[in-house]
């Protein structure tokens, strides 16, 4: 099984789940087409395309240099940095109610810079300055320039 076959099978399962969910859409009698009609049309087309994609991938066979052959380790090596950024971003979102946008943003940028860049003493200082400066300026522009209220964070309530 090559990578495209796996993706096509996943797509068909995805269509199946969504198609089943269309039956949970409430029927109306307003004289207009029901709310489930358009999604079903899209899912029908998507299923047909998914089946075509599956047939195409099976016909093609296992392509040279297919990433599926590299296993989980190879995949993790390729996407290590991206996964790291996603993880840090998810942590940033989860901790935002506590740290707020400013401090959370500074910590996120600093951690991301440190995860992706070098980690010697001088570079860490530079990363700290970049994080503070970049997020501080943007936070200032939105808070004072555009009057947007950004999350303050529980840590700073009462300040």
């Amino acid at each position: 099984m090559n990578r495209d076959t796996g993706v096509a099978i996943f797509l068909l399962l995805f269509c199946g789940v969504f198609f089943a969910a269309t039956f949970d859409i409430r029927e109306t009698s307003y004289g207009t087409p029901g709310a489930g009609v358009w999604p079903r049309i899209i899912l029908f087309a998507l299923t047909l395309l998914g089946a075509g994609y599956l047939a195409q991938s099976l016909k093609r066979g296992r392509a040279a240099g297919d990433e599926a052959g590299r296993g989980l380790k190879g995949w993790l090596a390729t996407y290590r940095n991206a996964l790291c950024c996603y993880f840090l971003f998810a942590v940033f979102l989860l901790t935002m109610p506590y740290f707020g946008m400013f401090l959370g943003g500074v910590l996120f940028v600093f951690c991301t810079l440190t995860a992706l860049g070098r980690r010697d003493g001088r570079t860490l200082l530079v990363h700290g300055a970049i994080a503070l400066g970049a997020v501080g300026i943007m936070w200032g522009v939105f808070t004072y320039g555009l009057n947007v209220i950004l999350p303050q964070g529980e840590l700073f309530y009462g300040w």
Partner: protein
Amino acid sequence: MLIDNIAGAAEAVFHLKTVGLMFLGVTAGLIAGAIPGFTIAMAVALTLPFTFAMQAVEGLSTMIGVLVGGLSGGLMAGMLTGIPGTPSSIATTFDGFPMARRGQPGLALGIGVWSSFFGGLIGAVVLMTLAPQLARVGLELGPWDFFALVIFALTVTASLAGPDMVKGLIAGALGLLAATIGEDEVNGVARFTFGSDELKQGFAFLPVLVGLFAFSQLLSDVQDTEAARQPLMPKGAKAVKIEHRQAIAEVLKRWAVLVRSSLIGVFTGILPGTGGSVANILAYDQAKKTSKYPEKFGTGIADGIVAPESSNNATEGGALITMMALGIPGDVTTAIMLGALLIHDVIPSPSFIGDEPVLAYSIFIAFFFAHFIMILMQAFCLRAFVMVTRVPRYVLAAVILAYCAIGVFALSNVDFDLWTLFLFGVAGLVLRSFGFPLAPMILGVVLGNIAELNLSRALTITDTWETALAAFLTRPWSLFFFILAVFSAVFPWFQAARAKKRWTRAYVPLLTLSVSVPLFMMGGWVRPAIGTGLLALGAVLLWRRARHGWPTQDTD
């Protein structure tokens, strides 16, 4: 009336604050365009959150500034390093880089900048002339026709995915599906919420767009740790003095190439889904084919810079025509502009220019004026651009990810929007890594509601499903767009097998013959006359090719 509208629009655009914002926008666009891997669409998407607190004219003028700056910024990286800053300046490097390496970087940059300027002005003039006319045609379109137009836009965009068109179509369908999540606009019924209250509102446009395009692009840029730690441009890149006078003379000497390429750009832009990345290659190819010295292309000649640079700036004029006249985005950047209009409660449609004349003319004027600002800023800030591009890629990625979060939250102060950004950021990277193009998905998200509303209207107006479906094939504009959709769906196979397989010899004649049918159905005399011309052309081509036995490369 027209004068009043233009005067009102000019007053709004030339207000000190708007001009200042446009200067900022153009500068930001020039810098973003100069950074390889940082697309114009990404720059325009990241500008969108800053425009919430602005008036519609201010916000759109700023975004147009970014757009025009980005189109012209791409040439700097291409000429100084050989790496195009944006896909719309790929062809510029073919001759720009050799000319710069030959010791004339100032002249190469000058020709590029002034070609962009003149191309943009031609695009702006065509925009001002053609948009109101096309809007009049747009008023003829009913819900059947708009639905067919959306399908055509999606197939054209998907066909640009090349031989993997199935992936392009799947991406488009996924975009349409994403737009159905939440309450539907027709009946107000919740769909695909899976028990989540947050999903009832559906996904906001900006987080989806920024997640799919910017977030995933940034993370794909930092996959290789060593490359991510390198500066965006090699240290050898130096600021040079642009030779304006000589460059203007060189560009104007090639006025035929300039005008032809600009028109190619405008008409490529009018086609929904196609943009500067197609136009610059097409214009370069045409300039080479019609040149008296085609063998010199690629060695660093001025014609090879004038053609792509004038066409890519003119493309946006064309894309804005479609957006303003029909409410259908011409490319990803105008899809974002459409989002900006919706945020300001302005809904582009064929009646947009009539209903919102000041705003419409403001867009015309801002597009025109932004090119003058671009010339000024490019001349003065080249050194600063080179400095910015010495920043390592990972620094830029980390900072912009934080900006994405702040900007997306500012849209409506909803935490869920940040999770939407995250979710679509993951989806974007996964789709990219599996080879799915993202442009059809974005157009799918933007056009999903338009398609559903028009389909619903079409089915409601007609009594039965049978009559509704028949109307899709008997109404001339609907038939016209469906025919174009079918031919654009076949286009990738045609392109791959062109002149190698016999059936490809029938593609163009069949297209012209098929398109002539709805033109005859439209009535009047102009369109049937065009239909007659196309019919005759198709018949002649068919007859000639049949007489020669459908020749292919092998038989030639």
